[in-house]
């Protein structure tokens, strides 16, 4: 059976499946919100959703516009502070962080600050926000990115949030917490992990109808390819119904593809 879905819906479904029940996730604004909310409504009802502004353990009723708005506190277990949430992340309580960016390199380093020269930027982006803290302090970072050569780049214009920085051992050398760093990248073309020896990004699955070549052509750096690249399971009817009717019924995020 074939089903109609757009690429944003595909990314939301695929990334939500990465979130296991009874784990904790620090969620950023936009698509990560949709993805975490879907996971909570489907296979991970006890997913501990944490927002940087201070809400802990919400049952997300409908998509929040801000990671600090009242929706993030709906049926939560605690309305805390940024200090509380970020201290807990620094202490090791946050399993996953969910982030997006304007640019990413092969070590999963992210740019959300400027495109072009820092002092005379072509595009000024919002900056770190809680992104750097999430990427620094959470155990595993999941990155949600549109896949093209402008975004998957050989060299970032600005390293806002550290991934594996320059490769194996670089995070520890910089002083970042041990056993932390990027875990998966989900794009509209496939899913990538980070090869354990080199910490370089590696293609592990392609989405239905996408070839390995197409992924490589859309990547601005040398992407490693797993020996056995699988084909991603397409979104299910149940996932799509939940996305469209409950998670983001106004189509604010998923309707924008």
């Amino acid at each position: 059976m074939t089903m109609e879905y757009n690429l944003t819906e595909l990314m939301a479904c695929v990334s939500s499946r990465l979130l296991e029940d009874n784990t904790s996730v620090l969620v950023g604004t936009g698509l990560p919100l949709v993805s975490a909310s879907l996971a909570q409504k489907l296979h991970a009802p006890n997913l501990l959703v944490i927002f940087e502004a201070g809400a802990i353990g919400a049952r997300i009723p409908t998509i929040p516009i801000s990671v600090g708005d009242s929706r993030t506190c709906h049926k939560a277990v605690m309305a805390a502070s940024m200090d509380y949430v970020m201290s807990c992340a620094q202490l090791g309580f946050t399993d996953y962080a969910f982030l997006g960016a304007a640019q990413m390199d092969m070590y999963g380093n992210l740019n959300t600050t400027v495109i072009g020269d820092y002092d005379a930027p072509k595009v000024r982006l919002p900056g770190s926000g809680g992104g750097n803290d999430a990427g620094s302090l959470c155990r595993r970072t999941i990155l949600l990115m549109r896949h093209d050569r402008r975004r998957f780049v050989a060299k970032l214009d600005f390293l806002t949030t550290p991934g594996y920085i320059t490769g194996p051992g670089a995070r520890e050398e910089a002083g970042l917490p041990a056993n932390s760093g990027p875990y998966r990248v989900v794009s509209q073309l496939g899913v990538m992990d980070f090869e354990p020896e080199t910490k370089r990004m590696r293609l592990i699955s392609v989405h239905p109808g996408v070839s390995v070549e197409e992924v490589l052509e859309n990547t601005g750096f040398e992407l490693l390819v797993h020996d056995e690249v699988t084909v991603t399971e397409p979104p299910t009817r149940e996932e799509l119904d939940l996305l469209r009717n409950e998670v983001d019924s106004a189509g604010i995020v998923i309707g924008r593809s």
């Binding site: 604004t29 936009g30 919100l33 927002f51 940087e52 502004a53 201070g54 809400a55 009723p61 409908t62 998509i63 929040p64 516009i65 801000s66 990671v67 600090g68 708005d69 009242s70 993030t72 506190c73 709906h74 309305a79 805390a80 502070s81 940024m82 200090d83 970020m86 620094q90 600050t113 005379a120 930027p121 595009v123 000024r124 982006l125 919002p126 900056g127 770190s128 926000g129 809680g130 992104g131 750097n132 803290d133 620094s136 302090l137 600005f158 390293l159 806002t160 949030t161 550290p162 670089a170 995070r171 050398e173 910089a174 002083g175 970042l176 106004a250 189509g251 604010i252 309707g255 924008r256």
Partner: protein, 337 residues
């Protein structure tokens, strides 16, 4: 401690802890005084051109919009904003000509609504300068250092990034572990406006929902002006002292402003006004549009109650209350395709 690296960002709002102690001792009264005043008086007494300031809340959540509009009306300029998650607040302040320099954790964006046309245009055109980068947690820990009367707060965040390189932090060798550690300098803004759910005439304040970083920021502020949805009897505060988020001795002024976070969200009371946000985002695509907005909603408006009437009055406020309570579905005109 051995210094391993120093950020190049401008160090703003820092004081030697002894200087900070003297300032707080001499300028903050421990007396119970009626601190009520008008918005006009609060802005004219506590804000100066060129000041370094921060705002409570979260950019478009529990923000002191009345203070923002009044700063624009009084023609404040040349200010540097501590953009610790600045969203609609900084957008309007940049559009209104108040802010020309930004100490940046998050700005020039509107979260789910996308990037901010005004903020981007101002930075890309050179009208507004970013003088430093930091992370959100980093900024609130700067306030925490100040709140504790310490010169800095250590963190394991920001290490190995350009965010750190463009911040005012330093990396040192931790004397206990020998590992690199980021030290965030204390930050004492010249003034802070903070919107709260309720407080008494002395400034004892309650905040419903997440407090974000306002517990730290209230203590870090050299001048703290509360805007409040309502002023309550001090006995209401004393009946529930566990609910006090800000005690009176931190507070310099109290201004009663119902719906004072509009068009932002006020947790538990009203949701953000997305129709108004869409109008701002549409108009702010051009400098002319920004002027049109300022004329319509800020400069030609006498006070906040008049503004609330202008944006839809009681009917609109009732709709936003229902939206907050999830009784009506969210409409997001800015997302229309």
């Amino acid at each position: 401690m051995k210094i391993l690296e120093e950020g190049r960002g401008e160090l703003l709002g820092w004081m030697d802890p002894d200087e900070a102690r003297s300032w707080m001792t001499e300028n903050k009264s421990r007396g119970l005084e009626d601190k009520r005043m008008s918005m006009v008086e609060a802005v004219s007494r506590f804000t100066r051109d060129g000041d370094y300031f921060a705002l409570g809340g979260f950019g478009h959540i529990r923000v002191s919009m009345a203070a923002i509009y009044e700063m624009i009306r009084q023609g404040r300029k040349g200010m540097t904003m501590a953009a610790k998650t600045a969203v609609h607040d900084i957008d309007v302040l940049i559009g209104g000509g108040v802010v020309s320099r930004v100490d940046c954790a998050y700005a020039f964006g509107h979260e789910l609504r996308g990037l901010s046309p005004t903020g981007r245009r101002a930075v890309e055109g050179g009208k507004v300068k970013v003088v430093g980068e930091i992370s959100n947690a980093g900024f609130q820990w700067r306030f925490k250092a100040a709140a504790m009367g310490l010169p800095f707060m250590p963190t394991r965040s920001m290490l190995g990034s350009d965010t750190l390189r463009m911040s005012s932090s330093k990396v040192v060798e931790d004397p206990f572990t020998g590992k690199p550690l980021c030290l965030l300098p204390a930050c004492y803004p010249d003034f802070v406006f903070m919107h709260v759910h309720r407080c008494d005439i002395y400034g004892n304040a309650q905040i419903d929902g997440i407090i974000i970083e306002d517990g730290e920021l209230a203590r870090a502020a050299k001048r703290l002006i509360l805007t409040t949805e309502e002023i309550v009897d001090t006995e209401e505060i004393r009946d529930h002292p566990d609910r006090t988020a800000v005690p009176f001795y931190l507070v310099d002024a109290v201004v009663e402003v119902p719906y004072g976070s509009h068009p932002g969200n006020m947790p538990g009371l009203y949701y953000s006004d997305e129709e108004h946000m869409a109008e701002w985002l549409r108009l702010s695509r051009t400098d002319e549009g920004v002027e049109e907005y300022m004329d319509k909603y800020v400069r030609s408006v006498g006070d906040f109650p008049e503004y609330i009437e202008l944006v839809g009055g009681a009917e609109k406020m009732e709709y936003l209350r229902k939206l907050e309570k999830l009784e009506v579905p969210l409409e997001a005109p800015w997302a229309r395709r």
